[in-house]
Assembly symmetry: C3
Homo-oligomer: 326 residues x 3
């Protein structure tokens, strides 16, 4: 705490340090934390994961995206949101996602810059709309901007879609004949569920992400980890594709739902716990549903399952919870 | 009237009877009626239709869904909505729809329970959002929850999609060369239009549904029946697929639009009648449009054409109608 | 100015002239102008283009649509909106679009009449919803009604889809190996971008459209023309399909975005200019994205890229601009 307040004082007097502080908070806000140390650990995790997967561009992209979005947000009236990093996190994700799915070319870097700028505009737009019902924009700006660019890449020869799923009509998945947990790596899939929030599969990175959460909010780390485990178990029982489960692809949205419903927008309690449980289980269904909906247009769901499920559960929050933090 | 007030007194003093009363009203609210006798007749119609089609699971599912949703709604603050059955009707439809399209397995029953619980949360969410424009949630919660689960069934080996339409790209329907009404059974298609609100094709059931409407509101029964007939006629003129017309699939959404616009949210008048007419005709277009949109992802429209068309016509209600009931 | 005030006086005393005046304004409002002379020039441009392309039905359709929508709007309470032509422009576009994509039959004319009536209801609906955030309905009513009917045409033998794109799954566009501007006609594509707002490719028509804009607002004409040019350049750099670029199909939405952001809802300034630039560039991405999304269902984007991009940039307007016209 004391270190934090010292840091605040140092930062306040220095434009460059303040900018770095806000950029770090921007990265931390991907998982709802307003804490520069969390952001530092998150960036470390991204670099570990990106270099581990041989895709350094996505690490640099995430830094570029956060910086551009933070720079854009500086020119707006709402300084409080800016200082909390709330204009930065969508740019961070845009910068991580585009090099994950598109070939790294000069046009791609321009797209990251444009996408990060637009992500700030979309953030204000959605926040303006949703404040009517006192709900946050979550990662919707990231998803909408990235979806737009990934979809557009099919129409533009200058953007190469090689890493996107091939557009196809949905087919029914045949049930596995073996026992449910055959071929499932429970440990890996749970941890990958955490790092896949940033589109990478890395155990060390996940530990860093959890550490980043823990220095800001222990509950957030606990809900994130348990949310991932629960989502994996639900996906196993429903017999989702094993490769997807093992890569954490049924868990990353659930991780965010768990943190949001369990610790960010509610104080932990039994009622909140049950509500979060239902929310996490339903997020897995939304994940499956969006996989089907997006199959014909060949784009990934990104964190949209989290966004939809959480909006669904956050709008009625005040009608369901006896008392809740604004 | 006297019987109704006697019933109210008996119910008020008894928790079990009250619960049954609210559950019945929940079923009745599928067609906007706040009346336990209507609900009883509706349930009777569902059982007649489900057993007639050899699919008893959908009848039991509709009871289970209504009960679970009513139980869930009991824990909320808004007792008035609960007592009117407004938390129950979406669960009723979820419970009827899932066994209609998915294989009956233990996981399916769990899905009905989860879907009914979530339908209550979605109901509050949508009602909260739409009260900004004084419009009701209609059956949107049912459609969204069921769509999610049906779409997810393509991704989950544990849910079998056998009764869903095979995903395919839309093809243009070739015009019929014979006279328009060749091969059309006007009587059956009109009556099936009413029972298909609950996803069944049954003439006896439709008579029971109409009786259920009539004991609560004669206008509702009249508008429902004429709405169905008009929708069939429009679909015939536009040359929709004969099998779909004959099964009432172009009429069931129009039935709900007609009751909603003509009798539930407006007092019958000439202006209302014209408005309802346009609404019913447009519902048939929305039905055709949604059939096309959903073809690539292999799910049915459910009552979404009704929801979209009615929202469209209900939001401007106060600007169009000289005076109207809240 | 004097001529305009004289015209106003003549019109006020004569029901027929007033109706003609409002109908002309309805056509002018497609590009946000409240001016009967603009409407006259626009209709002239439509007739030049439609007859030039051998599709006179779309010219007569646009007149019919504007007239029917204006007649419908007469019966509503809001006379100010009616007088400004704000109930007419969506009908104008419905009437132009349906004969462009569907075979000209008696049923088509009925669809134009129904679509124009419904476009007024959708206009009130969307305006009611969006006034919560002080944003206009733009051409969303036209797009939604026309999409509904075009999608429905796949399900109805009575509506022939021959001129619609064949539904197909998106394929990645391969980059061109030649220099970027090979095969691009910069002049034609920029001018077609303007006339394609009304779904026609005509240089003479575009000059008439620009003249129509200029008599009402010089800034609108400038922003429209430069918006078209910028959109073409962006599409060329991103390597969109040459045929689409040359037909102005990447520019027409951008034309409207440029006029809306640059001159209609903001007073021109440096900040506004930059904001509009970003908006126009992003509109090109939204155009590419919607092309991909709609490929499997075989309908054109119409002006939806403009609507989405402009809503996105107009909602945050007050947070971004130092001071702006309501």
């Amino acid at each position: 705490m004391e270190a934090a307040s010292k840091w605040s004082k140092i930062v306040d007097g220095n434009v460059v340090l303040e900018f770095i502080d806000v950029t770090l908070r921007g990265c931390a806000q991907v998982m709802f934390q307003n804490n520069p140390l969390t952001g530092l650990l998150f960036f470390a995790a991204i670099f570990v994961g990106a270099f581990g997967e041989g895709n350094p561009a996505m690490a640099f992209g995430s830094v570029l995206g956060t910086v551009v979005a933070t720079l854009t947000g500086m020119h707006l009236k709402d300084r409080t949101s800016w200082k909390a990093g709330l204009y930065g996190y969508n740019g961070c994700l845009v910068g991580a996602a585009l090099p994950t799915f598109l070939a790294v070319t000069p046009i791609l870097w321009l797209c990251i810059i444009l996408g990060s700028v637009v992500s700030v505009i979309v953030t204000i737009c959605i926040a303006d709309i949703l404040k009517t019902w006192k709900v946050a924009a979550l990662t919707a700006p990231f998803v909408l901007v990235t979806w737009t660019m990934l979809l557009a890449s099919y129409a533009f020869g200058g953007l190469n879609t090689s890493a996107l799923p091939v557009p196809n009509l949905p087919h029914d998945l045949v049930a596995y004949n073996t026992s449910l947990f055959d071929g499932i790596d429970l440990f890996k899939s749970t941890f990958y569920g955490i790092s896949e929030v940033f589109l990478i599969s890395t155990v060390i990175g996940s530990v860093l992400f959890l550490a980043g959460l823990a220095v800001s909010s222990l509950w957030a780390a606990v809900f994130g980890l348990l949310g991932s485990l629960l989502a994996v178990l639900v996906a196993v029982v429903l017999q989702a594709e094993h490769a997807s489960i093992n890569n954490g692809l049924y868990a990353f949205s659930a991780v965010l739902t768990a943190i949001a419903l369990g610790s960010t927008f509610n104080k932990p309690s039994w009622r909140v716990l049950i509500y979060t449980l239902i929310g996490v289980v339903f997020t897995v269904f939304v994940q499956g549903a969006l996989n089907t909906v997006l199959a014909p247009v060949g784009i990934p769901t990104l964190t949209m399952p989290f966004v939809l499920a959480s909006w669904l559960f956050l709008v009625p929050n005040k009608d369901v919870m006896p008392a809740h933090r604004q």
